[in-house]
Symmetry: C2
Amino acid sequence: METAGGRLVPVLGQLVRLLREDAADSPSLATLGVLGRLTRDGAQRLGELARAERASQPGMTQLVDRLARDGLVRRTPSPDDGRVVLVEVTAAGRAAYADTLRRLGELLDLRLAGLPAADRHSLDAALPVLDALTRLDLEVAR
Amino acid sequence: METAGGRLVPVLGQLVRLLREDAADSPSLATLGVLGRLTRDGAQRLGELARAERASQPGMTQLVDRLARDGLVRRTPSPDDGRVVLVEVTAAGRAAYADTLRRLGELLDLRLAGLPAADRHSLDAALPVLDALTRLDLEVAR
DNA sequence: TATTGTTATACTCTATAACTATA
DNA sequence: TATAGTTATAGAGTATAACAATA
């Protein structure tokens, strides 16, 4: 018998590709992760952002580069420490985040509508669990 | 109130990055998708593989290139139709698939072990639903 | 002509190693 | 010296447009 973890892995890949296929022109999950975090938690150091989003620091530098180029975030030097870069979301970034989340959510909801109500309830109950799963080790690691 | 779809999107990104972080040297979800499909369903046309994995045909050509280079799959020309390329998984590919799935599954199971039993049951119940979600529109599209 | 797949090209996302600037 | 971030470089993964080969 396969464990829950082993069954989750293949499904993850399919879900990600499904979203990409349906909304090819949407901001990526990487972009959404950063914009969402900045929207929820406010301006953050670049390194802090890298840790929270499970990326390397150079990787986050590059992602923030692209987002800044596209006007979705803004870099500001920290007044307290000249080494530190604070990243904040712009109004355009906030709008892009909200719009994209709504759009992708609707696409998924459309598919969900094709499932029995009991299935939808199962998924509903599991969403907080999946979320908790992603937070678990972050707390341990600090 | 946010819909299930809207809540699923951010979680997906975090889960993918979590796996990448914990098992940086593992085959990617794209690789696993192809190897898994070939393992389950046997040799397939390249175009068929592209459709099933929600990739473009050139994208699948390139992915198969890398997998063949790494000895995980093999290309064979179709005897019936000279345009067609059949892709099959090698023994090494089958082994890599099984090993990776087990490893990633164990990593997720470790985290799952930190959750209450009720949460684990919720997730268990939702896994077939997520799987059904990814299959829904494929059937519609054909 | 239509279908199947590849080539050419370009972009995002990601990492590691080496570097710079500040503390 | 240690920390925060960037630059250099490389590779996976992906797409669209143009092409070649076969039917």
